[in-house]
């Protein structure tokens, strides 16, 4: 992939995170949060998206994000009070941004949203949303904000996008960047302002352009108002015969008058220059900041020229702040916080003057520093690498169990010593495995975040009012499970929205509040992740469900079922109680699909319903699909692994009464029920001569029981799941394979697939390696 496409990819990944953050913050505000950080974070998120989108030429996205950002800015500035803000609109806009992002990602034309844009434009124009006294002061000049790598927004491509966006904004007004290279160095008003004189010698490697970096991007990472002059040194340009136009031969000498520390300047080049590509020389401290009021206006003007809040307003800002007492200044400071780190130097200096304000200014700065630190300790790692690590750990687990088997055959005195070491090794291996699993673990937030949008859209389609409450979003599970969660959860929420929660009128008639509530809760319980979807709707209509089940022949006409048993019918195939078959659900392919998916993951789903009060679906899943607890069994010469989750109990074959039906089908009586019995060796075609001694009672996905006769139970252990599909194809009767302690492969049985294999009687269609052509 070429570097630009790669960057773009990263940008879209970041967009997902930013969109998630945006939605969460807006959600919090919609639910009544008054935390200014929620507003700021939402603003930063949309801002970062806009910046990145600009850098990659996603014009539709930029246009929309720009209007959206502007209206959020009204909140940030206090021009629109939080309680008056149309968060429902904002949430729909955040959905629209998500659509635009995915359109841009897939290179599809975006759906224009003039309705939303118009509504956004109205925000802030509404009567009554008059400016609070400090509002114009606190409104940071929009061009200043981009210069600030947002406090806790990811400092990745989006930030780079910000820089690019800023360069565009500055092409006119920042003379240092825009002016052509004359003989005279470009001099800006910065020469007159306080700060130290710093000389920067920038000697980029010749591949600068190929790294998609332009000199103006490099300069843009410096505060424009600090740049005194930029001199281009063209002495390294080779002769015309040897010149390669894609090489950069320019060197630059930049003179700064700045308050930035050397480290600070270095860090600003993180994205653009390697450390050996520039030198920093600090000359001397400039004169004290006595004449501050005189110089700050032009400096500020150069910082905020293109915005509607013009330079003179920025100057007013400093003047007003200077006049305000410490208390007032302190009050104003929190609003300034997002822009503070890159505030034009003179303004920042004014804020710092009064002692109280200084303290107030430092607090958010510390937070920002802490935020940066948090970022520094987390690393983006390619999932592929983690998978490789996981594989390697799997290898070690296998080698270790191999060692254990070898050691058993040693003479006792040697064994005793070695065993101790092996014991330690196995403890460490287990620990290593846990840690690697922890690295792969992700909070369920990744999936939960998609649900509010689903609920909003469904609520609109169905004409219902629903509040979604998320809890335990930070509960972590392995990424293999995360990937599988989205579908069942979507179905469950749909089901609750469609069948559970009533329309507002019905709810009022039932004495409930018109707004329904759906709770989505995740938690760890007994080594599993348990996710529940609870609604306060009408509950399962048992009579209708039962009637339908009877008409479909699922339940006998005179069969009596307990209420709980009726509820379970919701998981039966082809049953739906929705009177109107809607777009949302009602085709009877809902909960049975969910159940099948969940069970194929080794999970369970259950339902509790209280008529008139609501319904609760509970989903319990293993924490990972990468390892499973299995029972190792032997049949003939072959060994198999059967997941413990499928095993109900084991018993001796000899003590079990077995009866023969037609065609060699055997059945056994187990807990008063007639249970089919299959001999594993015959079904799986095991080599050697099977001599069955043990019956394993296993459970199928449908909840039926089945007896599986095997020769021997070898043991119980955690096994690493290895795909058979990767290099071979589907194997009937098995879901995957694993490697046992002796290095040999054992198939992991899939009870349902095995039963299908047994039922076909003859050989199923030959498994074949699927190759193109």
């Amino acid at each position: 992939m070429d570097p630009l496409a790669e960057l773009k990819q990263t940008f879209f990944q970041e967009c997902e995170e930013l969109l998630g953050a945006l939605e969460l913050r807006l959600q919090a505000l919609d639910e009544g949060s008054t935390d200014s950080e929620d507003v700021n974070a939402a603003f930063r998120a949309i801002h970062s998206i806009k910046g990145g989108a600009g850098a990659f030429g996603c014009t539709d996205l930029v246009a929309f994000a720009h209007v959206f950002e502007a209206s959020l800015d009204h909140l940030r500035s206090g021009r629109v009070a939080l309680e008056d803000a149309p968060f429902a609109l904002f949430l729909r806009c955040s959905d629209a941004v998500a659509d635009l992002v995915s359109a841009a990602r897939n290179d599809e034309p975006a759906r224009p949203r003039p309705d939303l844009l118009e509504a956004l434009e109205q925000v802030g124009k509404a009567p009554g949303a008059a400016a609070a006294p400090v509002a114009p002061v606190a409104a940071p000049p929009p061009v200043v904000a981009p210069a600030a790598p947002a406090n806790d927004a990811p400092l990745g491509v989006a930030a780079l996008g910000n820089l690019l966006a800023m360069v565009e904004a500055k092409t006119g007004p920042a003379p240092a960047v825009a002016t052509g290279w004359d003989d005279e160095p470009v001099v800006t008003p910065a020469a007159k302002k306080p700060g130290r004189d710093v000389i920067l010698r920038i000697s980029p490697e010749s591949d600068l352009f190929r790294r998609v970096i332009e000199p103006r991007v490099v300069f843009a990472s410096l505060p424009a108002e600090d740049i005194v002059s930029i001199v281009c040194d063209l002495s390294h340009v080779p002769t015309l015969e040897t010149i390669d136009v894609s090489d950069c031969f320019m060197r630059f000498i930049v003179t700064l008058r700045t308050n930035l520390s050397v480290e600070d300047i270095c860090s600003r080049f993180d994205f653009t220059l390697a450390t050996e590509e520039f030198e920093i020389e600090v000359l001397a401290d400039a004169p004290a900041n006595d004449d501050r009021p005189a110089v700050e206006a032009p400096a500020a003007a150069s910082a905020a020229p293109a915005s509607e809040v013009s330079g003179s307003v920025a100057a007013d800002l400093s003047a007003i702040l200077a006049k305000l007492g410490p208390a007032n200044a302190a009050m104003a400071t929190p609003d300034l916080q997002p822009a503070a780190p890159a505030m034009p130097a003179p303004v920042a200096a004014v804020i710092e003057a009064p002692a109280a304000a200084k303290a107030a200014a430092r607090a958010p700065a510390n937070d920002a520093a802490a935020g940066r630190q948090r970022q520094a300790v987390s690393v983006r790692v390619d999932l592929d690498r983690i998978d490789k690590l996981m594989n390697l750990v799997g290898e070690i687990v296998i080698t270790q169990s191999m060692l254990v088997e070898c050691v058993r055959s040693l003479p006792y005195d040697v064994y005793a010593k070695t065993a101790e070491g092996i014991l330690t090794l196995s403890r460490q291996t287990r620990e290593l495995q846990d840690h690697v699993m922890a690295v792969r673990a992700q909070p369920v937030k990744a999936v939960f975040q998609r649900m509010p949008r689903l609920v909003r859209e469904l609520a609109q389609t169905l004409g219902k009012e629903v509040r979604l409450v998320l809890e335990g979003e930070n509960t972590e599970v392995d990424k293999t499970i995360i990937e599988e969660l989205a579908d069942p959860l979507t179905h469950m929420i749909r089901n609750s929205m469609d069948h559970g929660v009533e329309t507002p009128d019905e709810r009022i008639a039932a004495g409930k509040s018109p707004e329904g509530t759906i709770k989505l809760i995740a938690e760890h319980r007994a080594g599993r992740i348990v996710i529940s979807v609870t609604d306060d709707g009408r509950g399962i209509g048992r009579e209708r469900l039962l009637a339908k089940a009877r008409s479909r022949g699922l339940v006998g006409a005179d069969e009596k079922l307990a209420p709980e048993e009726i509820d379970q019918l919701i998981f039966a195939a082809g049953l739906s109680t929705a009177e109107v078959i809607s777009d949302v659900s009602g085709r009877g392919v809902g909960m049975d699909v969910v159940r099948r998916n969940v069970e194929s993951l080794g999970g369970r789903i259950s339902v509790d319903s209280e008529p008139g009060r609501g319904c609760k679906f509970t989903l319990a899943l293993p924490l990972t699909l990468a390892v499973l607890e299995g029972m190792v069994i032997r049949c003939g010469d072959d060994r198999y692994v059967i997941p413990i989750a499928s095993v109900i109990e084991t018993q001796h074959l000899a003590s079990t009464p077995i009866e023969h039906l037609t065609f060699g089908q055997e059945v056994l009586r187990w807990r008063g029920e007639i249970t089919p019995l299959h001999r594993l060796g015959a079904v799986m075609g095991s080599s050697g001569s099977p001599n069955e001694n043990i019956i394993i009672i296993a459970e199928t996905e449908r909840g039926d029981n089945v007896g599986i006769a095997v020769d021997e139970i070898v043991g119980q252990q955690q096994v690493v799941v290895k795909s058979l599909e990767g290099n071979y194809g589907t194997v009937h009767g098995a879901s995957a394979a694993t490697i046992l302690g002796d290095g040999l492969v054992a198939l992991i049985l899939d009870v349902d697939s095995m039963l299908r294999l047994a039922a076909t009687g003859e050989r199923p269609p030959a498994t074949e390696l699927k190759l193109a052509g």
């Binding site: 075609g685 071979y728 394979a737 030959a766």
Partner: protein
């Protein structure tokens, strides 16, 4: 990078000397070959775990440093029965498209350079119904049959007539 390009130019500039580097191996007294580029490694026989109801030429799966690998018996594919595998038998681990597979043979003989012009198309033999052989090379006194690995693995000499028809159309 430039150097590599230069080499490529060099070799393609002289097509008469273009050669295929072939790994040859034996099953019984017959010699087969595949392009060396497809061979990932060569390892001694190792017990496999049989797969239920797999095609006859699928010997089963084994663990190649943590990866599950299916092993195909070339002897079965060419209609000479099942190899009675011992420690002296060899598994040629090959890359086919995006998969890795093992080919069970008796022994690996040699690596030879064969001029491209020396490869003759396989005669349209009645017996090779599965198109396992891609070409023939005469090497000293031996006839080396170059294998179409994908066909070996896909068909394994047991392809049903229906499937064959489907493929032909």
């Amino acid at each position: 990078m430039t150097l590599q390009l230069g080499e490529k130019h060099f070799s393609s500039a002289q097509p008469e000397s273009a050669a295929r580097r072939i790994v040859t191996f034996k099953v019984g007294d017959r010699t087969f070959g595949i392009d060396v580029g497809m061979v990932r490694e060569i390892k001694g026989w190792q017990a496999t775990t049989p797969l239920p109801h797999a095609a006859p030429h699928v010997r089963g799966v084994l663990n190649l440093r943590g990866v599950i690998l299916a092993v195909y018996d070339l002897r079965t594919s060419i209609g000479l029965g099942t190899t009675d595998a011992t420690a002296t038998h060899v598994i040629v681990v090959v890359d086919i498209e995006d998969k890795v597979a093992g080919l069970l043979v008796d022994s690996v003989s040699d690596i030879v350079d064969v001029p491209v012009s020396a490869v003759r198309p396989a005669p349209d033999l009645e017996r090779d119904e599965h198109g396992l052989i891609e070409g023939l090379v005469l090497l000293d006194t031996d006839i080396v049959a170059l294998l179409d690995l994908a066909a070996v693995i896909r068909d394994g000499g047991v392809e049903a007539p229906v499937a064959k028809l489907a493929r032909a159309s």
